[in-house]
Every structure is written in C-alpha cells, then in structure tokens.
Amino acid sequence: MLKISNLSARVAGKEILKGVDLSVNAGEVHAVMGPNGSGKSTLAQVLAGREDYEVTGGSVSFEGRDLLAMAPEERARAGLFLGFQYPVEIPGVNNVYLLKAALNAKRKAAGEPEVDAYEFLALIREKMKFMHMSETFLTRGVNEGFSGGEKKRNEVLQMLVLEPKLAILDETDSGLDIDALKVVADGINSLRDPARAVVLVTHYQRLLDYIVPDQVHVLSGGRILKSGDKSLALELERRGYDWVQAAQGA
C-alpha cells in the first residue's frame, strides 16, 4: 500500500530525513518509534504533503500512485489520513461542519453523492458514542477550547468518519490518561481491516499494549535503524534508544 524508498527531506534548510525506507502492506499496523528530534513527525508531515517540508530525494508510492506528486487534499481524498500531534483550533468553524465538508470532499472525489444531513448526523452520533464524546461537541468550534485529550479523541473521531485506507497517527497517545488511551486505542483498533493500514508514530510502547503492531521500526537521525516485531518495542522500553544507536554505530 505504502512504499517509501530512500526518502530525504529538509525543513528550513536543515536535513531531517536522510534516506528512509519503509513498506506497509494493507492489513498491517506499523509502529514508528524513536527519540525526540529523530524525524518521526517530519516523516508524517512529508507523507501528508506539508508545503514547508521540502523533499530532496527518494520516492513514495501510495497504492501504486506517486504520492509526492499529489497535492495534500488529493492525498487526503485518496485515503491518506494524518492524525495531528497538535490539532489546530479553528475558531467559529463548527466541528461537524468541517467533518461533513471533509467527508463530502472525499465522496465527491470518488464520484459518490454528498452525504445527507440526517444520515451524517446519525453516523457522527454513533462514532461519538463509541469515542465517549459528549453531545456538546456537536455545537463547538473545531478544537476550540478542547483539552489535549479531547483534541486527540477528535482526531480519532474524524478518522472513524472518514475511514481512510492509510492512517498515520502522530503521537495520538501523548497527553492521554489511561482511560482516554483505551478509548483512543479502541477507536484505532476498530478501523483495523484487511484493506487498511495504520502507521503509529509514538514515543512509548504503552500504546502498543492496546494496539499490537505487526512491525516496529526505530527511526533515529533521519533513518530507520532497526525493524522488528512487537518484542522490539519492549526491548526499547527496557534498554532505551541508545542501545539501537550504539548497535548501528550511529
């Protein structure tokens, strides 16, 4: 589904990604872990098409298409979803309105009719219930005055409504208490499906107790240093990232 080959990118003139290779197949969950400043968020932003992140080399194919040639909104409509680490507030713009516009943009691109308002409300109510979100959410502005945990829950809610083929979740677990973490993990797990894939970007293996990944990768210094199964995450938890870096002579 996603094939990243030798991807390099820089931000504000600084080289952050230095040749990343990563392949994700449909039905898989991958975890990308690594210390602060290793390039995890940069990777997520580059895949989503953030303009100020300049790709300097390599290629990315998404479902056989050249992802890097696509505009951010095209990527989204093609089924790529980014759960933001810091979801932005958009004052005065209703949450539901944004989400409906997003869903309709996607449906329109797929040649499907726009969603009917009642149908949409029923859908969003069902997903909100699943995410343990209160009704007041329906009338609030996008992330306006939300707590950190509410923002993350909102990201997962959007993901559930948009049903992406590939979800890249950038530290969706950070800032959550244990109950909220379970709710968020349930949300992500509910999307697991042989036709979809998830890339979890995270610092901690805590999330992986609830969402068991097929593969775990260690990103450090702008490169994937090591890949393995779930046990790699546990080993990282025990031994820290220095161990991988030392082992790779990085």
């Binding site: 303009e51 909104e73 958009i90 005065g92 959007q158």
Partner: protein, 482 residues
Amino acid sequence: MSSKSQDVEALIGQKYRHGFVTDIESDSLPPGLDEGVVVAISKKKREPQFLLDWRLKAFRHWLTMQEPVWSRVHYKPIDYQDISYYSAPRAPANAPKSLDEVDPKLLATYAKLGIPLHERARLAGVAVDAVFDSVSVATTFKDKLGKAGVIFCSFSDAVHNHPQLIERYLGSVVPAGDNFFAALNSAVFSDGSFVYVPPGVRCPMELSTYFRINAAKTGQFERTLIVAAEGASVSYLEGCTAPMRDENQLHAAVVELVALDDAQIKYSTVQNWYPGDENGIGGIYNFVTKRGECRGRNSKISWTQVETGSAITWKYPSCVLKGENSIGEFYSVAVANNYQQADTGTKMIHIGRNTKSTIVSKGISAGHAENTYRGLVKILPSAEGARNFTQCDSLLMGAKCAAHTFPYMEVKNPTATVEHEASTSKIGEDQLFYCLQRGISAEDAVNMIVSGFCKVVFKELPMEFAVEAQNLLSVSLEGAVG
C-alpha cells in the same frame, strides 16, 4: 516564497461580478456645483420651500468647510465641479405607477444583481425600494405595509406626501452642517428612502433598499431617514453595487435613524460597491455619515455592516444614546483586498442613565489593502451606570496588507464600565493545512476559516442576507491565502 503564494496572488485578482453598465437614457444635470444646481435639483423634484431653504443653508455652510484629512485613507483630491449631481433614468412621459410600467431594462439590471423585484419580494417577504442612480424606481409591497400603517417610500415621495414628518425629523440626528460630506449631501441629495413605523407597530416584513450607481461621472447622494415611534420596531437592509469604471465615483450618503421610547431599529448593510481593479484603478469613494439616535427610554438601535466593496470606505455608523436604558450595537465585517482602503468603525455616545453599547468589529485585509478600525466610546457625566463592551479583531491574509486599530475612549462618569478586547491574527498555515489534510480544497478552507472569524457578526444579519453576505465574502477573498 512558494508557488502557492503566486496562486494566491492570481486568485485574489478575481473579477467584480456586478460591473456591468445598463444602457439607458438618463436625465442628468451637467457637471458642476453652485447654488443654481442646488436650486435646480430642488425644482426638478418640486420640493416645498422649507426643503430648498434647508439645502441652501447646507450648501452655504459646505462652502466654508474643509475636506477632512484625519482618516488613514489616501486619494487624489476630488474635483467637486467635475461631478454631475443629478442623474435619473428618463421615464416615458410619466413616472411608472406600478412595477409593470417600470422600464424592463431597469428590471433586468436588478435581476442581474440578483434582486428580481417581483420574485425576490414575494418569496422573501422583503419590501424592496430600489434606487437607481438618484431616483427611486419602484417600491414594492406598499399595500401590505400601508395596512400596518408603515410608511416606506422614496424620500421624494415622502417630501410630497408626508412633509410634516420630513420637516420634523430631517437633520435632527445628522445636522446639515455636521461634517463636510454630510453638508454636501444635505445640499444636493437627490433621493433615498423614508420609513416611518407608527407607535406600537412591529413592521410586518424586512425592508430593503438596493442602491446602484449606473451613470458615469455621477455622484450618488442618497438620504435615508427611519423613524420608529413609541414601541415600534423595524429591520432594514441596504445593499449596494456599481458598474466597473476606471474613474472614481463619489458616494456620500447620509442615514438618520430615530428611535423613540421602547422602539427598536435594526439597520443592516451589505456594501459591495465596485472596489477598483487589482491595480487600484477606479472604484467608489464611499464617504458616508450614518447615525442613529436612541431618543426614547429603553430604545435600541443596532447597526450591522458587511463591507466588501469601495476603493475607499469612510464610515462610522454611530449611536447617540440619549434615552435612559437605551442600547446601541455595532457589528461589522470590513474586508479590504487589492488596494482598497477602509477606515471604518463606530461612535457610541452615552448620554442617558444605564445606557449600554456593544461593538464587535472584524477587519479582514488581503493584497495591499489598508484596513483601519476607528471607534469612539464617549460616556458623558450624565450617563450614570453606562456600559460598553468593544471587541476588535483583525485577520491578515498575505504579507503586504495592514490592519490598524484606533479605539478612543472618553469616560466622564466614574460609574461607567468600559471593556475593550483586540486581536490580530494571520490565517494560519496550520489551519489551512489541517483543512487540506481533511480533503477540503484551499478555497473552501479559506472561506470556512474567514466565515468562522466573522460568525458573530453574520448571526446578527437577517437570515436571507446572512447567506448573501457569506457569498460576497467568499467572492471578495476567493483563495486569498498567504
């Protein structure tokens, strides 16, 4: 800078959609201004002596006045002798008695503007008084309003049919010599609208006037007077457009509102005068004096404006809060794009006890535009317990525009409460990217973000006009992201 900024530049330069000219014969005075012109206008309109005297007094006073220079707008000096002060579509012999008799070309013009008089009026339940250049062409729904006792007609008709009301209220809020542009208007105004809502009557429908400047080198000097008697209430909307021309046209209107005891007036404006092209050539100079007086106890006057047009906007809808417990409100969205200059705001003059005022101003600047909020909150010694709340927010799109805020406050009573909040923000790359990542196009995203910014003002507009305002805004700012 990235390629996106260039796209943005291109998108900002979208075309003015009301820039057509209607080819219609008109009866105009030659350019120039002297006492003879003032007399000629009054004569053409067969006005009573009191009105001619009033005009002449205003004109003589105007001659002694200087054009104001304190606002943050820049323009070449206006040659007042190069303007025609009267232009009317030439009617076949007699003036039309009903819509059926109105020149079909005129009606087609209004249809192009999106206001087919018949349909719009009927469907929306809105009574429209359409002013084309200087005279009122057709006033719809007179009958229904007449049954309720509401007078809604052109200013000229009011002068003939209700001279005592005109004599009593004209100039009672904005005196003939109030300021340079108001004095000019008082001398040469050619038409406008008049509304009188009798005691205890709630006006059964929204009233609306649509202004349009068609003829070249014409100034439009309309005069609006709205009186809500004891316990009456009325909601009034004006909309404005003009054809695209490469010279500047002057628009100097005066609006006076009078609210007696327990009366309410809601005045909404959607102003879309031609703003000039992307190089700042042409466009309307809009120098307008709007003032309402809460003369009675518990009265309320509310101004809501959405300003997207004009090359220059110079406009401060104000409330004089004389009556005890009276309320003044000002909700404004002012958009300036390309080389537009807007210097707008409000004045709230608190005179009576326990008077309250609210000011919410949202300025949006894009391109090379200059957008200034200028507001005065004045609490006089008599205004025991007066309260004001002011909120001014500015949104910048791109790096070449500017926003300025000048809030003046004069508080002469220690029991008064005055609050002021202000903010300036840029349309964030983060907000935009967030929307794009959800599959929403850049245009839709900007519209969404800007609408969110303006929401508190839009919700003050009557429903059907809120939609129009939203559309106007998206046309004015299509893709203006930086």
